[in-house]
């Protein structure tokens, strides 16, 4: 997993609430057996019409936001399906950070497994960031995970906080499975105990 330390880039505003994972990556693209290559279909049904032409009104099709690396989104981002194809598609497009007032649980978890930083901030702060993002490509935001601070294009700073374990893993690009496998003896101990306590499992 790629480390996440500090990111400075264009933020795209997506104020719609309840953006679900079906919108982020529609089901017809889940048939892949790879993790890569989904960026071209990110937000497919919003980005393209039925004939595959770009919808010029969609934010990521506008010249200012084609290189966006941050999304500022409406409440409850990533609700619905558990598909990890959603963060894979965001990452493949180039999005490394999503900021919203709240995230759906599974999507939130999935982001951390892929080097994407989801940040939860109060409505008034998200409103300021949304406004800043609306200024276009010259409004580059900085997200600093070490300091846990977002800085707007005009220098306003907002603190955020991330679960310490997840922050540690992101900052160092650590693989969860490797970490857990170091605890193999604890897992075996638990299994031995359960074989007596709940043998039917």
């Amino acid at each position: 997993m790629e480390k996440f330390t500090q990111l400075t880039g264009v933020a795209a505003p997506m104020p719609l609430v309840n953006i679900d994972t079906d919108m982020i990556i529609p089901k017809q693209f889940l048939k892949t057996i790879l993790r890569s290559g989904l960026g071209k279909n990110l937000f497919d049904e919003l980005r393209f019409d039925a004939d595959g032409n770009e919808n010029p009104g969609f934010v990521l099709n506008q010249p200012a936001y084609r290189q966006a690396e941050i999304l500022i989104a409406g409440d409850n981002f990533g609700c619905g399906s558990s598909r990890e194809h959603a963060p894979w598609a965001l990452l493949d497009f180039g999005i490394r950070c999503v900021i919203s007032t709240s995230f759906a649980d599974i999507f939130f978890n999935n982001c951390f497994k892929n080097g994407i930083l989801p940040i939860t901030l109060p409505q008034d702060v998200v409103d300021v960031l949304m406004e800043d993002a609306s200024r276009g490509a010259n409004a580059r935001m900085t997200v600093d995970l070490e300091r846990e601070v977002v800085t707007t294009s005009d220098g306003k700073e907002f603190a955020f906080s991330v679960d310490p374990f997840r922050r540690h893993c992101l900052l160092n690009g650590l693989d969860d499975i490797g970490l857990t496998m170091e605890k193999a003896s604890a897992i075996q101990g638990f299994e031995a105990k359960m074989a007596t306590a709940r043998p039917w499992i």
């Binding site: 679900d20 079906d22 409406g74 558990s82 649980d105 857990t180 897992i187 709940r198």
Partner: protein
Amino acid sequence: MTAQDKPRTLYDKIWDDHVVQQDADGTCLLYIDRHLVHEVTSPQAFEGLRMAGRTVHAPGKTIAVPDHNVPTTAGRETHIENEEGRIQVAALDTNARATGVHYYPIDDVRQGIVHIVGPEQGWTLPGMTVVCGDSHTATHGAFGALAHGIGTSEVEHVLATQTLIQKKSKNMKVEITGSLPPGVTAKDITLTVIGLTGTAGGTGHVIEYCGQAIRELSMEGRMTVCNMAIEGGARAGLIAPDETTFAYCKGRPNAPKGEQWDAAVAYWKTLFSDEGAHYDKVITIRAEDIAPVVTWGTSPEDVLPITGVVPAPESFAGGKVAAAKRSLEYMGLEAGQKLDEIEVNTVFIGSCTNGRIEDLRAAAEVLRGRRVKDGIRAMVVPGSGLVRAQAEQEGIAQIFIDAGFEWRLAGCSMCLGMNDDQLSPGDRCAATSNRNFEGRQGRGGRTHLMSPAMAAAAAVTGRLTDVRDLMAEAV
């Protein structure tokens, strides 16, 4: 009172019994008793294992079945037309056989939707932790099992270690007092709760459903309720196990037998929330106040009784105003329109929410002696091959066929339209599934969620219909 004696919720108890290790910051390594696997969210996980030279830690606790993109028409055992779908199903087949997990291939009569197969085969039991790379894993909470969806990286983590790195959620109680009125079902309960709390209302929580109306539900009904806990944003839904649960589990192929059964039941009887246990959020609804409901928009929280009208976007607040406007435009509806005048051209009965035998019985009850209205495409997709076989045995299949329904093979089908069962742009569907998101059932397709009985009623009249009207009418 020591910490040990502190009253605990059902969730607290299951959680405590599965903690392998806890760090100072509260991060836990949680043991997973059952891991369900399907073809769409697992290929990258198996590939990851191979690349890292890792093996499946506990194949005996892992169950694999193809469901998401299998066709529901005859001949699928030998040929799947869609190439990508075929490759995914073949990849699951290869991975399942190579790793020695329990596997129900496409030609096995026990194949079906993973959340229907697990309980049916007795893999899901009270007090367990159950995960699957699918958000509707919440279904298994009906047994008093802590069950939730995970992403593919976590699928790989569970395959490799049989554990997950987790932090505990908060406790939320949803109590449904009294008894459900006639014509009102488990689906109406779960949709009504989401309508009240919103799709983010349960975020960060595990919901325990309780109260008389929940106790009075069958296991099938309880699975319907818990299935949609995720649509309310909750990590999981739970219902304390009781005699109804034990009776359902007893004799299932993988349920314990003999002395082990007795020991299991003794343990299961300890799985309830203690008097005075703390809940961070409590919602109470009177069953008498629940009506047959339908959704009007593109979020499962867009729920109203069938007797209502399409709401005006301005009646909402904040970001929901714009979202509701967008929903009405997508759905082709006008504020003020009566819900029971909305015409449909498709009816879908099935899914992990409502693809069990009781769901098919409820729909067949409405359809007995009636016909699907001309011009409507109506399909039933049983949740598993065994549900299908039972429905055929009970004569239910014949009722559907006589009424003009397509009688399909088991799978997820039009719930998410990954196979060929999809809506076309502008199609409007009465569906017993769980999500009415834009494009979910097919690009441009419009979905109204409801119970199986309500979907059957819509098939008969060609419009969203109060099933109680048909119940009152003699055939």
